[in-house]
Amino acid sequence: MDKIQLGEFIKSIDQDLEIKEGKQYLEVIVPALKLYSLAKQLRDKKEAQFDYLFCLSGVDYGQDLGVVYHLRSTIYDHVIVLKTRTADRENPKFDSVSDIWKTADFHEREAFDLLGIRFANHPDLRRLFLDSSWGFPLRKDYVDDINIVTK
């Protein structure tokens, strides 16, 4: 499917979703609560078959924290980007997609480690690179005491 067909397909799943035509890929803005069910449908529906999650990135947008999912179908070769965000910086939480795409397991642990984003129902959400005494370095309000990184 090309971008327009994909946009119509997303509309047929849920009317309320906001769709943005990105420079490269089609982007869908998903509320955190609808994320899991949309992800599952995108993988399972015959027309879409997004079976390959090739990138999962946690992003600090300043006010909000968000997660970006890059999905691709190995059968149809089309790509879609899901974006979700939350304003809760104290306890940001999304549903884990690690049972839909197993690769999300490590990616989500990385996002938790570096941005402090929690994923509900993740099988093993521990810190990956850093130990627990560190803050969350990729957050924009992170204060670097040792000044390894200066801005």
């Binding site: 990138c55 600090d60 190995t74």
Partner: protein, 374 residues
């Protein structure tokens, strides 16, 4: 005395936990694996990473785009040139630049040379992991020839930093074409020797066939790319699916095998070396004339937006995701590194095999640790 001797064979539930790494020679870097064993059978592997986490993504947020290129060298140091290319292509795409053909062809040839030397080092160390020390000398001997070619043109041997936004740093050395052709001629004669040494070896077959099977569904679900994924039949070659540089104008085939075991991961890489030589041969005599670099503004600022570029490194799909807010520094950079994702499948495919197979499977995944930790 008699009472103190405990019969361990009677205890069905007992698991023995050993620590492999972080300084173990067959983990190829500072990777620590906590391995649960029952007798000789591996029950669980838990990778502990982050020993050389340098925070490259964080560092990128405070430096300029041309500076980022030099950090990407230090991720997957065996695919240094291809990592550089990923950032450059992304910056050029964001600026909507037209890149002259000469640059594209030079980059493609360099990428394929990088792929060959990476596979040579992998072959050398994989052979050594399985007890064949001769492989190590053969592999490194031939790799030296490519590094010499790099040195002549780029100045660097391993971390070349040859790409820059808008082209390459310097024009190719006058000897470049001659030496590459000499190398191809030499390596076409030498590569069958690799097969004689290892590919046809009965002991090697026993240790690799049927070991560490990865099915196609799992390869896709775990996102295992590169030769490891293609050995399971997962068609994931970015050079075919989203051609960049000069890959759209040459004829080459994507190497696919279906068995998904250690041996087919091995044979996929050997086949890829042949295919890379085919690619170089198609291009080396047809390097177009033209500038080797497009003049860029002294300060590169990307327009506001998000850019994603995928390239095929020697180990799989590298993604560079840049979010720009219009400044000279990126707002956020994410590297989707192939090794990080390939590591996640390690536990899944090693369960139930013997501890000696763990080394073979780990070698066949071809992990480079700095790329995992970033």
């Amino acid at each position: 005395m008699e009472e103190k001797v405990k019969d361990i064979t009677s205890d069905e539930q007992q698991e023995y936990v050993i620590n492999m790494g972080p300084q173990h020679p067959s983990t190829h870097g500072v990777l620590r694996l906590v391995v649960s064993l029952k007798g000789e059978i591996v029950k669980n592997i838990e990778p502990h990473i982050g020993y050389i986490h340098r925070g490259i993504e964080k560092m990128c947020e405070s430096i300029t785009y041309p500076q980022i290129i030099h950090l990407t060298d230090r991720m997957d140091y065996l695919s240094a040139h291809i990592n550089n290319e990923a950032v450059c292509l992304n910056v050029e795409k964001a600026l909507e630049m037209d890149i002259p053909d000469r640059i594209k062809v030079i980059r493609t040839i360099m990428s394929e040379l990088t792929r060959i030397q990476s596979h040579q080092l992998w072959w050398a160390s994989f052979g050594m992991d399985l007890g064949g020390l001769t492989c190590f000398f053969y592999g490194l001997r031939d790799r030296e020839k490519i590094l010499d070619i790099f040195e002549e043109t780029c100045g660097g041997r391993m971390l070349v930093s040859y790409n820059c936004p808008g082209g390459v740093m310097y024009d190719i050395h006058p000897n470049f074409q001659k030496r590459v052709k000499e190398f191809i001629k030499y390596f076409r004669k030498i590569l069958p020797e690799y097969d004689q040494l290892l590919s046809g070896n009965v002991i090697f077959h026993e240790r690799s066939k049927g070991i560490g099977k990865l099915s196609l569904e799992d390869a896709i679900s775990y996102g295992v790319t590169g030769p490891s994924g293609r050995a399971s039949g997962f068609s994931c070659d970015v050079r075919k699916h989203e051609p960049y540089s000069a890959y759209d104008r040459i004829i080459f085939k994507e190497i696919l095998h279906t068995e998904g075991d250690t041996f087919s991961r091995y044979i996929t890489r050997i086949d890829e070396m042949w295919e890379s030589m085919n690619i170089i041969e198609q291009l080396i005599d047809n390097i177009p004339e033209g500038p080797y670099s497009v003049k860029m503004k002294p300060v590169i600022k990307l327009p506001e937006g998000e850019y994603y570029q995928r390239v095929e490194t020697a180990r799989g799909e590298l993604g560079v995701y840049i979010i720009s807010d219009g400044n000279k520094n990126p707002y956020r950079v994410k590297f989707r590194s192939p090794n990080f994702v390939n590591l996640s499948v390690f536990n899944h495919i090693t369960k139930g095999f013997k501890i000696a197979d763990l080394v073979a499977i780990g070698g066949s995944l071809d992990l480079v640790i700095p790329d995992i930790d970033r």
